[in-house]
Amino acid sequence: MQKIPQWADVVLVPLISLLLATIISALVILAIGQDPVEAVKLMVIGALGSTYGWGYTLYYATNFIFTGLAVSVAFHAKLFNIGGEGQAMIGGLGVAIAALYIPWPHWSIALLACTCSAAVFGALWGYLPAILQAKRGSHIVITTIMLNFIAAGLLNYILVNVLRPPKSMDPATATFPPATHLPTLHDILLPLGMNFSRTAPANITLLIALLAAVFVWLLIWRTRLGYSIRSFGQSGSAAQYAGINPVKITVITMLISGGLAGMMSINTTMGEAERLILNAPEGAGFIGIAVALMGRSHPLGVVLASLLFGFLYQGGAELAMWMAIPRELIVVIQALVILFTGALDNMVRMPIEAFFSALRKSGDAK
């Protein structure tokens, strides 16, 4: 018998964690001498009050859907992939190479090719820690952390010494050719009679992110592979007795995870900057951890949590602009979400479990 009903596990526990994170964030805002109510108002207006705000919120959310899914897939196999940031950076390299060196006739073909390239590059960066974990027992958390730094160094080297156009001082590639320009939400929604903001960066990648979420749902809950991944995550030894090859599952899971993280870079590199810059993921790889924990590793949860974090990100930018609250407030909120939904999960869960078992006992007594 389950300790708590499923709805409580899926809805109540994350909501209480979120509430705790919100209360503490409000206290932090108060402590630095600002008004939390004013701050929330400003965030809502800034992030959701105009199509411009929505455009940014959805743009950030697109990034977080990819990285959140990446972390979730790994979580299902009980692998903690902190390397989303590095995988996204290397994925960006894949996008840049595909976009710069092949003359694409149309954006749709370019998008398809760049998506594949990003996924392959990201997957390769996820392959290394996977094979080391599976074959040599090196802890995947440590190797993925190290590979984040190595990816940053590698990208820095390549941008400065190889891909930087001559005479340019910026450590960045040349601007991608116009044929690779992706339609923004403005372009997509105009024929439908909606005048979406022209300057906001949200673009067609959002649809790919949503497709990826559906794909992950199908993969995890509707395929044989997904079943193997989940049973491996539940109990590695039991899965092995059932004939599931641990090396194979670890590697495949991390390939998918790394690929998803890599695909994030289509949004930032092809959709927004239209060239590869240093630190394009801007921490989205790490936000994926918060998103996956909050979304309980379920694609629907990940999409909802991504929207929330997209809102926080865009709202946070507004706070930095109009109130004396630095953007780092978002990092604090992110930390609190990870803390309450991840590390302190039992602290939130124990009182709820106690409450429901008391409820059951009083029910039995009658």
Partner: protein
């Protein structure tokens, strides 16, 4: 004679750059030997760096009219201990995931230090520069000045061994102290046991939770000193993200050293040396007569760690019960 001078310059900065790594690495050693993984070293150091610099700017009448670095360091240690307590509550009391808790602590420190710095000092997330007693000043060892002109020994003693801040010497002394505590005291034996076989320690009637909290506490104190050294010894004040991955390099050094104190010293000196020569690309070019990419030097500690982890240079086996919360038998 130039070679000796250059060597002394590089080794001198090696020693200074190794110090925060060494303190953080030993901090991690205590925690991980007791079975608590700690990837939050970075965050604890950052938090301590901020609070030590922030408090060292405060002018306390009578006691420290121009600000006191010691009061600052106490504040830094207190801040790191607070985060340690959080890590302990999450991973020992509530048996949460230690890795996730560490990630949360790192982000908490990154965000909070800038928020508070901006709110207190309004200088874009930094503290004012520390002067005079607000920072640790170099300690001149006895006879350093008079022995300066003795050939070979003079420059080494004067330029390399003497003239560091007190924390550098404390960090070096921590190595034998850690070794002695771990291998020659009852507390150390129990600490190592709790990281390998907590159920055995429990059966012997010793509290697993208390031991682990003690280890996490020692880890906090050492991280506090490491952070204080960064902001008040190595540099004169706090700047945003000033740890710059040092907590992760310390973690790498810990793996490199296979969780042993003397090897930790060697690993940290190696990584400190890499950082020191990355600051002097002109010297590398002059002596090796080819250019070494700075980016390569920056990531070399991480690459070496991955190679070690891959088991190509001996196997790095962490403490057996590491990362697993202990559930007492009912």
């Amino acid at each position: 004679m130039d070679v000796l001078n250059d060597l002394i310059t590089v080794l001198n900065s090696t020693l200074r750059l190794s110090t925060p790594l060494l303190l953080a690495c030993l901090a991690g050693l205590f925690s991980e030997r007791a079975g608590i993984f700690d990837i939050g070293l970075e965050g604890k150091m950052l938090c301590a760096a901020f609070f030590s610099a922030a408090v060292a700017t405060v002018h306390i009448p009578w006691i420290a009219p121009t600000g006191s670095v010691w009061v600052g360091m106490a504040a830094g240690i207190f801040a790191a201990l607070t985060l340690s307590a959080l890590h302990g509550i999450a991973s020992i009391t509530f048996r949460g995931n230690q890795l996730i808790s560490g990630v949360a602590i790192n982000f908490l420190a990154t965000g909070m230090t800038v928020l508070i710095a901006q709110s207190w000092f309004k200088q874009g997330g930094r503290t004012p520069s520390l002067k005079g007693n607000g920072r640790f000043n170099p300690v001149e060892l006895p006879f350093a000045e008079s022995l300066k002109d003795v050939p070979v020994f003079g420059p080494i003693y004067h330029g390399l061994i003497s003239g560091h801040t007190i924390l550098v010497y404390i960090a070096l002394l921590m190595v034998p102290l850690t070794w002695w505590m771990l291998y020659r005291t009852r507390f150390g034996l129990r600490l190592r046991a709790v990281g390998e076989a907590p159920e055995a320690v429990d059966t012997a009637g010793v509290s697993v939770m208390q031991l682990r909290f003690a280890a996490v506490g020692i880890c906090g104190v050492l991280c506090g000193i490491a952070g204080a050294y960064l902001a008040t010894g190595l540099q004169a004040g706090f700047v945003k993200d000033m740890t710059a991955g040092r907590g992760y390099i310390a973690l790498a050094a810990l793996i490199f050293a296979k969780w042993r104190p003397w090897y930790a010293l060697m690993a940290c000196i190696l990584f400190g040396f890499l950082q020191a020569i990355a600051l002097r690309p002109d010297l590398i070019e002059a002596y090796l007569s080819f250019k070494v990419q700075v980016q390569l030097l920056d990531v070399l500690p991480y690459i070496l760690t991955v190679i070690i982890l891959a088991g190509f240079v001996g196997k790095a086996t962490p403490p057996r019960a590491g990362g697993e919360p202990y559930v007492k038998e009912q």
